[in-house]
Symmetry: C2
């Protein structure tokens, strides 16, 4: 049993760690040499240039202005200063709404904190059940529901608070859902012309032996949407081409490097070895060698390109179809086209940046099979991945270690180390395990065949949450491998499961408090430091950066990482809601997490992250759904707990809670979810009409014709100055190639980093 | 334990009953006096006139032609002769597809019968487990899986057959789903102009203080569907008006009666008493009295009518909106109109006949609440309605009766009576109980707020099936009240539930065989006899029929009654699939049911039933879903049974079956279900284009303007010759008022009976 001392020590360690991280950050961010690590977003937006361009040599690397150090914490007000509308303009709606998840946490848990501490802590503390019992207990347990005697009428206080918690959470959830839905509509309404407003992704176009895909598409839409159809773009399988282009780009980098070297020292032609990594082999002239290589690749690319464009087999049975009006696109996206609902599948096209090209050609039947396979795979992953975690958790048990390695006993029994092991280790080990998971889940989502990156991330997020729920939450509570849990659940009567969990819940409060501190406090503070990125950037800068283009590329802004970060927040919602009534002591720890994370991520979103896409907050239904899930779990657990407390009368009263919550969720689903999946015709018509009056687009067809071209053709095109001189090289202002007329309000109008970097350094 | 003798006796009784029914039918249908009972459909179609119109007096009532009696069974080939396309033309697609459910039963169970009898019966019979055991057993058990020793490798034969059954069933289901979907599309494509093709039902129109609903609707659709909008009809709350019209109709009948009486005997004015049922009170002249009454009511109706049409409060926030093209309607029905997805709800309008007017004005929030309330109510209904059934079932237990009423012992022990009680009573008592249920379920569906009669019936059907599953299937197997079952299930480990059922299943085979014979054989044979309808018709004819109109009304054709008949068929699917592997002996009984029912219902659909609406086979997804459910239940039960047989290795092999079945169902849902809920744009466009070329409708607007008028206004209108002379009284050919240009292929073009009857007797 962990005592207040253990918790205190863990808290001290974690607060110290967090403080060190924050101080280090405050110091490092002021150094010009780190500028590209801590403010990449501004570089990408073109509002900040390299500090190495001007000033004294030393000043390029170290900040000597002492006054600036005094204000080392001023990133906090800076981060909070920007208004929401500015934030949307700066970083996009996705980011702005993402921050609202943290804010929602505060909105939900601050009142819960107040009421639970005002009501439940006194109610719990003024008993002496634990003192009278023979079991060992800690001070924390004295403040929890464990201290209430069986069948005590005081338990009604907990039931009442459970009602307050549910009602308050649902109320806030509804308000937030409404706000986000309105923000989304406002955003859609205020955006300028964007290709995805006019475009529908059509999949599973039935093949025809006598006609090309392009002709089929054109005929079909000319007939069935004759008033609205404008143009279309077929989709090619350009994977090989993409590979070649990537290869040429690499060679180009080397060429740049040798040319810089030569220009610095024109007396000596730069030599290189042709072998592995330039370590051995024949010595040749670097510039000449790369120039011939690039020429060769360029020819190959030209050929492959011709092949892709002319070979009917390279054309996938999918197309982006654009319409004259948003109304036409909205109609096409929401309707069924032909008898066979697995053909001519239409859906609202994702942003050009958001398209996951590889999955565009997966046929319908295969999709179902893939889903089933991934469902089964995920089941096994969830229930059997846990073997190592269970092993570590058994290690974290002092007695277990003492038994396993008796010679360590003297060391372990040192109070400090004992506390450390008990308070720190389980959390951090778990964390490392979980770090490996998201990539695997992302791969699974990709295999399932979603066609946009945003949906891939959302799918991964929900799986990651499920995994965390089974393996971290249930795993920690029932303390056994997940497959053992599975066995337990199957062999237990259905109504005993909540009891099993309910009994274990109060005893695990300490573990979760530690977990919050390690993962939520130190982890979040560590996020702002970007230590890994800092090191990688400087290492790259020293050893690998050959050209300015490389430096740009070394500046990795990253993005929020919805697939890992959102399940993390949700996990705190889960713990918070479960423990709100059981061990209110835990709530302030959650509050600190939400507040800290809100500030840190607001800062990061403003200064660092560069979103890969703009899904216009399409993830909110997932966020809402998971909070609801957490709420229902907390209610069921409380029911189980109270039934072991012999508070029989309370069970039917509590039974109403999950039923009400599910009803509330059904209501919300019907009321708000369509806002995130459909484009209402009235909205589309409004926007069409406004456009017609205010700023009609003279050449919409030309604008849409090239909006959804496989990125490789664009990259290819932009590098085509090696090919011939006729290709128009875009200027920097036009660099947002996929979104030719970026709206001011959409932070999403900035293209992905590599493209920007390439173009900045175009001759 | 029931023996072969018991079964034989029950079979003999039921076959005899069925034969008596069939012979009685064969005899009675030949009597001209019963013609309207056994061939009402032809009367309604106008292809048969009253035999009382011509011929000798006796011949009007009794068929004296002896030769016709020799061919008394020729209704069977008659019923089978009509081809499917003729049947669709004659009775509508709903009826034709409904018959396919029986046919599907034969298609599924004939091969299952062959394989199980060829493989499993020998495998089961060549053991002597039961002989060696000390338990009592019957010959039936010797043929069932009970006769296989524990852990025997012979059980693999059952596993293999379970796979064959699943694969075959899924294969047939898929084929059938495809066929029905194509039939539906073909039907839609071949139909002529019908108002529901062009019309969308719009619900939850937001109110506006300054504008009428009609103006709001017009403005909204002129803006947001400006190319397609044609016209609309608002919906009035005309419940009071409907009541008044009904009252006047009654008086009109009396007036007719007195006028006939007077015309027969012009010397005497018919007198009547004004009191209750004409039994006492002041004597007045019947004709005069009713003429004044009708005049009074007509005035009242005119006033109420004005009130309904002018009072904005009587206008409901819903409307039928019609479009210029089917394409426009298809688009509107499938898209979301405004930001708030609970406003301007659009759905494909049901047929005018199919509309359930009362539910059109229920607001969205209330709908959710109603659903929740009905969900809870149904739960309690299912689990507590069973108390009396359990009581009766305990009666059906011989030992129970002997204990309860020991003085009856000598009677009960008579072999014949014992067999009768064991074989006959439980089934018939259950049947009576279930007869009470459908009306209640229909009321529940109405409360839930569905807007078409077809959906009300489908909802009731699925609830009825669920009820039967819990109370008849589980109730008979676990032999206890449903709420006790609930308790058992909650207190049992999840994996023990299939075992509990699995053990009981083979022992209950006799019960279900008896059930099939009573309900399926005698019941179905009784259906063709229409004994209840025959008696009622003749009673009415003798005592109540005052006018020809009354006689028409006494001829009650009825309809299939999807809400009760379909769950019945599904129940046989369930029993058949569950017992296919366990007790193959049961299958032939099911086959007899399907074959008999197919013939009987085919005959009834051709000669008797007059469908209330044409939903174009919209019920098929429900049918498919329930067969899938039955299949999964059968697989789970088999798993449970085999796990008690210590065939451990078979469990994982069997586990694949439900997973595959669920996967198959998901596939079918995606592939075929949209055909039943959406109108693909290509189909709509095709039909529009064809119409334009072949037979354009000159005045579509005029045609659609009055298509969806509350029936009371039409009834009112048709009786308006009392009001003034300006109303056009429809001729008989135009009597299909709701479907002004009835397609030849649509049997549904015949209006509902009361209307027809009224019009036939228009002056």
């Amino acid at each position: 049993m962990a005592t207040f001392g253990d918790i205190g020590l863990a808290a001290a360690i974690n607060i110290l760690t967090a403080l060190i991280f924050l101080l280090a950050f405050a110091f490092l961010r002021l150094q010009p040499i780190n500028d590209r690590v801590y403010f990449p977003k501004w570089y990408i937006m073109g509002q900040r240039t390299s500090p190495t361009d001007s000033g004294a040599f030393v000043r390029k690397f170290v900040n000597l202005d002492c006054r600036s150090y005094l204000k080392f914490l001023n990133w906090v007000p800076d981060a909070l200063k920007m208004s929401q509308s500015e934030l949307i303009e700066h970083a996009g709606l996705d980011s702005a709404v993402y921050l609202r998840i943290y804010l929602l946490g505060l909105k939900i848990f601050v009142p819960i904190f107040l009421i639970t501490w005002a009501v439940l802590i006194p109610v719990n503390f003024t008993n002496n059940t634990l003192e009278l019992s023979n079991e060992t207990y800690s001070e924390i347990d004295k403040l929890s529901i464990s201290n209430i005697p069986h069948g005590s009428p005081r338990l009604w206080a907990h039931v009442a608070v459970a009602y307050v918690v549910t009602i308050w959470t649902c109320f806030m959830l509804k308000k937030e859902y409404e706000t986000v839905a309105n923000m989304r509509f406002y955003f859609l309404q205020s955006e300028d012309h964007r290709p995805d407003q006019f475009t529908v992704l059509v999949k599973n176009i039935p093949p025809d032996a006598h006609e090309s895909v392009s002709d089929i598409v054109q005929n079909f839409f000319l007939v069935n949407h004759h008033d609205n159809y404008l143009t279309h773009q077929v989709i090619c399988n350009a994977n090989k081409l993409a590979k070649l282009v990537k290869k040429r780009q690499k060679k180009q980098n080397w060429l740049d490097y040798y040319q810089i070297k030569y220009s610095k020292n024109p007396s000596k032609r730069p030599l290189m070895k042709t072998g592995f990594w330039g370590l051995w082999g024949k010595k040749v002239d670097g510039i000449e060698h790369h120039e011939t290589e690039i020429k060769k690749l360029t020819d190959e690319i030209a050929e492959e390109r011709k092949n892709v464009l002319n070979n009917p087999k390279a054309i996938l049975p999918a197309a982006f179809v654009s319409f004259k009006t948003r109304w036409g696109a909205a109609v096409c996206a929401q309707t069924q086209q032909v008898r066979n609902p697995t053909l001519w599948l239409t859906e609202w096209a994702p942003e050009p940046r958001d398209v996951y090209w590889k999955n565009l050609a997966i046929p319908y039947v295969s999709l179902t099979i893939r889903k089933v396979i991934m469902g089964i795979a995920f089941f096994f992953l969830t229930f059997f991945y846990v073997v190592p975690i269970a092993f570590v958790q058994s290690l974290a048990n002092i007695e277990g270690i003492e038994k396993a390695v008796p010679f360590l006993k003297p060391i372990i029994n040192v109070k400090f180390i004992k506390s450390f092991i008990q308070g720190f280790l389980p959390g951090i080990v778990l964390k490392i395990f979980l770090k490996l998971l998201p990539k695997l889940l992302m791969m699974m989502s990709k295999f399932e065949g979603f066609v946009s990156i945003s949906r891939l991330e959302r799918r991964s997020a929900s799986r990651y949450y499920l995994f965390k729920f089974v393996n971290v939450f249930l795993g920690s509570i029932i303390a056994g491998a997940a497959f053992e849990q599975l066995n337990t659940f199957l062999n237990q009567p259905a109504n005993k499961i909540p009891e099993t969990i309910g009994i274990a819940i109060p005893m695990k409060a300490t573990f979760f408090i530690t977990y919050i501190m390690v993962d939520g406090w130190s982890g979040t503070a560590g996020e702002i430091l970007r230590l890994k990125r800092l090191i990688i950037y400087h290492l790259k800068n020293i050893f690998l950066v050959k050209t300015e283009r490389d430096r740009e590329r070394a500046m990795y802004p990253g993005s929020i990482g919805f697939n890992t970060k959102e399940p993390q927040i949700q996990f705190y919602y889960l713990i918070g809601l479960v423990y709100a009534v059981v061990t209110p002591l835990l709530i302030p720890f959650i509050l600190v997490f939400f507040a800290l994370a809100f500030m840190v991520y607001r800062h990061q979103i403003i200064n660092v992250y560069n979103p890969k896409y703009e899904s216009r907050a399409a993830f909110w239904p997932d966020v809402h759904g998971r909070v609801i899930t957490a709420l229902i779990i907390s209610q069921v657990v409380l029911m189980g707990l109270l039934s072991t407390k012999h508070a029989v009368a309370s069970t039917p009263v509590l039974l109403a809670l999950p039923i009400l919550t599910i009803g509330f969720n059904i209501y919300c689903k019907g009321r708000f979810e369509p806002a995130f999946t459909r484009y209402p015709l009235q909205e589309a018509m409004n926007k069409d009409t406004l456009d017609l009056v205010r700023k009609p687009m003279p050449n919409l067809k030309g604008y849409l014709q090239n909006a959804y071209i496989h990125p490789v053709f664009k990259d290819d095109g932009s590098d085509d100055h090696y090919d011939d001189g006729t290709v128009i090289v875009p200027t920097k202002r036009q660099s947002r190639r996929n979104t030719p007329e970026p709206s001011k309000t959409s932070g999403g109008s900035v293209s992905s980093i590599p493209e920007i970097i390439e173009e900045k350094h175009k001759p």
